[in-house]
């Protein structure tokens, strides 16, 4: 079969623009004579719709017939595909210019090939729905018929690229169906755990239940009596940047046999003395950290301390959210085949190029000797930005001649995650005589991500990790009050020591900073006797673009949600918003039952994400983010006992279930601005929106997540002799 390999340039977001030669395996798209178009998606498909938006962007400028388009994953060759990793809600924005350019250049080649074939001027030809039309004569050639001729032409220069104005878009801006939906409703879609390679074995690892622990002794005699168990051997912990626990690997002919073999294993771990940390220790250290010195001042506008001193009154409150697990439905796994001079890896990953680099460094091979196949990911949410599970699978495979699939059980996954940092925020406002803030101080205290992460040649080096700004960078973002017009603002940061591994979790710090900020604003509104929506609007300056965009989403969400209309007893609405490259507001409506259970009935979201490339994808992603955030707001938390994670499966880390899921309406503000991301967005605001709604329904202020139903029971005694409930405890008048 003849294939049209279309090489292209990198988009401007990568700085350099290079044009590779045709025929190289650096194709972004392939058009075959049977008129099929295969688009190679650089971004992995985690559920966020990367394959679909990638195809839409290319197809738009190519003038492709959507029914002929298919998508496959680009190979892990970072010199050709430097954008293989995805995170930070950045995929759409990073791809938008580049992938349209790919489509534009390929269309131009097809036009030139057609013009040459017909011996007519190029300007008499036009591309339409998968074919080139010669306008004066009405002759038509399909892309497939032109593919071979077009492949022989030189790519047009980048200067000739003329991208369409948004008014001419046929695919972008329309709700396009997901290209991966068919495989995902028939069971055909292959995830990492579904990889089946001839001769493959299965492995699990027994890991130390407390972080930093080491293997003391193991006896595998009983494991070897399990039919199908082939090998049992120790696996050493890898250096810090891998953060693997080490332990004992059990290799078998089936996953079940490996699990049985592990259950039969006798293992002893070195105990930590004194016993390892617990959640209470971390909480105590955090309270001290909230009052102690900061290592970094992130925002310092005006003079917040002075303004606080001279304010008419003050209000202070502490907010706390626990460690959280990613709990992807597909637990961690990777399949590795170590050969003499090469290694083949199949992994569900957000970061295939890092896995390639890390395994190459472990095996002392060149990166090109490590072939990494990226599979579909059964959820990711930041977890698959780590490479520990692939490194472990390599450790096991290095002892074998066959390929081996390392599977983590749910318990392994829950107890050896890289958790969303524990965080504690102390907010203090100085108020004027009418109750409006003139000074705002936030102390953010967390177990920082940077201390347990280290990338090869990328973001962090040991030197940078000693830099307070690097440590604080991932922790405080989202705490700044802009565009609220508060003249004096200081946001500073203090780290906490902990052995618990941490990493990105959907929204990173913006998964918890809006909880404190938007609830505290709500507190100030109620104290000032103002409606929380009006109070926010009054804090937004009139003639500022950021404030205008935020006001628009606040008003849209409020209007659709029926803000201000009466509700039954113990029902309430809460609002929250955030400003970033994407601007978002949410209104949650809750019913707090007599026993304190919070039922979230409805959530209205309004979003300004620039041009919504796939509006249905935007809505689906925000709906998903809201449900994801509701698990953390209402249901689940990770606690630490004796240096390890107390939870192990969905019985004690109860993820939101269907009967708890609210109705959700997501409204998109029409915009022709460049697109911005929504992957993490929904998860950022649902906790403050719900907590504010709970206050509206009950008068009880939630300052700690997940929301504790027992503190919201009707007629819970709260007399002076009673200790105040924990949700209210942090409030002090200063």
């Amino acid at each position: 079969m003849l294939a049209f390999h279309w090489p292209s340039s990198r988009g401007s977001q990568h700085g350099a623009t290079t044009v590779a030669c045709a025929g190289a395996p650096n194709a972004w798209l392939r058009i075959t004579p049977d008129n099929r178009i295969a688009i190679l998606a650089e971004k992995p498909e985690l559920g966020q719709g990367a394959w679909t938006y990638s195809a839409m962007m290319v197809a738009e400028e190519l003038e492709a017939d959507w029914s002929t388009v298919s998508v496959r994953q680009a190979p892990t060759i970072p010199s050709i595909y430097p954008g293989l990793h995805t995170g930070g809600s950045g995929g759409v924005a990073a791809s938008f210019h580049h992938l349209r350019t790919v489509g534009d250049q390929a269309r131009e080649l097809l036009l030139r090939a057609a013009a040459a074939h017909w011996r007519v001027p190029r300007r008499e030809c036009s591309a339409r729905n998968g074919a080139i039309l010669h306008i004066p004569s009405g002759r038509v050639l399909s892309f497939g018929e032109l593919a071979c001729a077009a492949a022989r032409l030189r790519p047009p220069p980048l200067e000739s690229v003329r991208l369409k104005p948004s008014s001419e878009f046929r695919y972008i801006g329309r709700a396009m169906p997901r290209v991966d939906a068919h495989g995902k409703v028939t069971g055909a879609a292959r995830f990492g755990i579904d990889v089946r390679v001839p001769g493959m074995l299965y492995a699990v690892i027994a890991r130390c239940p407390h972080f930093g622990g080491r293997l003391a002794h193991f006896d595998a005699a009983a494991s070897y009596r399990v039919p199908g168990v082939r090998m049992v051997f120790p696996v050493l912990p890898l250096p810090r940047r891998f953060n693997t626990a080490g332990g004992v690997a059990v290799v078998a002919e089936s996953t079940w046999a490996a699990l049985q073999g592990r259950a039969a294993l006798s293992v002893r771990w070195h105990e930590e003395r004194p016993a390892g940390e617990g959640s209470e220790d971390i909480h105590r250290l955090a309270e001290a950290g909230a009052a102690g010195p900061a290592i970094y001042v992130a925002v310092d506008r005006g003079n917040a301390r002075r303004a606080l001193r001279f304010a008419a009154s003050r209000w202070q409150a502490d907010y706390e959210s626990p460690f959280q697990a990613h709990a992807t439905m597909e637990p961690m796994n990777a399949t590795v085949h170590v050969r003499r001079e090469s290694i083949e890896v199949w992994a569900p990953t957000q970061f295939a190029d890092e896995i390639q680099a890390e395994i190459a460094s472990l095996a002392r091979l060149a990166a090109r000797q490590v072939v990494v196949h990226t599979t579909f990911c059964g959820g990711s949410f930041g977890r698959r930005y780590q490479w520990d599970y692939a490194a472990e699978a390599w450790q096991v495979a290095a002892q074998l001649r066959q390929p081996v699939q390392l599977v983590w059980t749910r318990e392994d996954d829950m107890q050896h995650d890289f958790y969303r940092p524990y965080n504690y925020q102390r907010l203090c406002a100085g108020l004027d005589g009418s109750g409006y803030p003139v000074a705002w101080l936030t102390r953010v205290v967390t177990t920082p991500i940077a201390a347990t992460n280290l990338y090869t040649d990328r973001v962090e080096t040991p030197e940078r990790l000693r830099d307070p700004a690097t440590i604080a960078a991932l922790e405080w973002f989202g705490a700044d009050v802009t565009p609220y017009a508060i003249a004096n603002c200081r946001i500073d940061y203090a780290p906490l020591k902990s052995r618990v591994p941490r990493s990105w979790w959907r929204g990173v710090s913006s998964s918890y900073t809006p909880f404190a900020k938007e609830c505290f604003i709500d507190e100030l509104a109620h104290r000032a006797g103002r409606d929380p929506l009006q109070f926010r609007l009054e804090l937004l300056p009139e003639n500022e673009s950021a404030a205008r965009r935020l006001r628009a989403v606040l008003q849209l969400a409020a209007r659709v949600a029926g803000w201000g209309s009466p509700l039954p007893d113990r029902h309430g609405r809460g609002i929250a918003c955030r400003f970033g490259s994407t601007v978002h507001a949410q209104v949650a409506e809750v019913h707090v039952l007599e026993d304190g259970t919070v039922r979230v009935l409805r959530v209205v979201g309004a979003v300004d994400c620039g041009l919504a490339v796939n509006p249905d994808g935007v809505q689906a992603t925000i709906e998903g983010g809201i449900n994801f955030g509701l698990t953390a707001a209402l249901c689940a938390q990770i606690t630490i006992e004796r240096g390890g994670v107390a939870q192990s499966n969905f019985h004690d880390y109860p993820v939101l279930r269907l009967h708890q899921a609210p109705l959700i309406d997501v409204h998109i503000v029409p915009s022709a601005e460049s697109p911005s991301g929504v992957g993490e967005l929904g998860a950022m605001l649902i906790a403050p929106a719900v907590a504010n709604a709970v206050f509206a329904a009950t008068g009880i202020r939630v300052r700690r997540l997940p929301i504790a139903a027992r503190e919201l029971r009707r007629n819970e005694p709260r007399g002076a002799s009673q200790p105040p409930p924990a949700n209210d405890r942090a409030a002090v008048r200063s």
Partner: protein, 152 residues
């Protein structure tokens, strides 16, 4: 290891397996039917849902020895081409995100509708609350089931 004979997607198969091995691993590792997913191993997430004699069960909780002579249908056997009304509704409503839990969701929904062709919203919630989705596609799952019940 003991021989077990059962029918999977209308094919009769005989396998020599550990009698205690859950149906989940028999399907995935012995038969290569990887559409049925592992999620928790303790019957709490529903990712491994298949039909046993037409009824939704958690295959991680069904030992191989208990299914001799019985009829198993997996997502691969629901229809070869996504033509089952539940699958069609799933595509119309654009339910899947990561897609990992969807085999189990679809098998659970198909079982519900086979038993109760016109469920109320409360009945849908009761039937589907054992199936977790971490991407949060619940709102679309509800809509897709209502669509399938209404005939597409």
């Amino acid at each position: 290891m003991k021989p077990v004979t059962l029918t999977v997607n209308e094919r009769t198969v005989t396998l020599r397996v550990d009698p205690q091995m859950p149906l989940l691993w028999l399907l995935r590792d012995s038969l290569g039917l990887t559409g049925t997913k592992y999620g928790c191993g303790i019957g709490l997430c529903g990712a491994c849902t298949v039909h046993l004699d037409g009824v939704a069960v958690r295959s991680c909780q069904v030992p191989a020895e208990s299914i001799a002579g019985r009829k198993v249908t997996t997502i691969e056997g629901l229809s070869g081409d996504a033509s089952h009304p539940v699958q069609r509704a799933w595509i119309v409503e654009q339910v899947p995100q990561c897609g990992y839990c969807q085999s189990g969701q679809i098998m659970q929904a198909a079982s519900l509708l086979a038993e109760n062709p016109h469920p109320t919203r409360a009945q849908i919630e009761a039937a589907m609350s054992g199936n977790l989705c971490r991407c949060g596609t619940y709102q679309r799952i509800r809509r897709a089931i209502e669509r399938a019940a209404a005939g597409g």
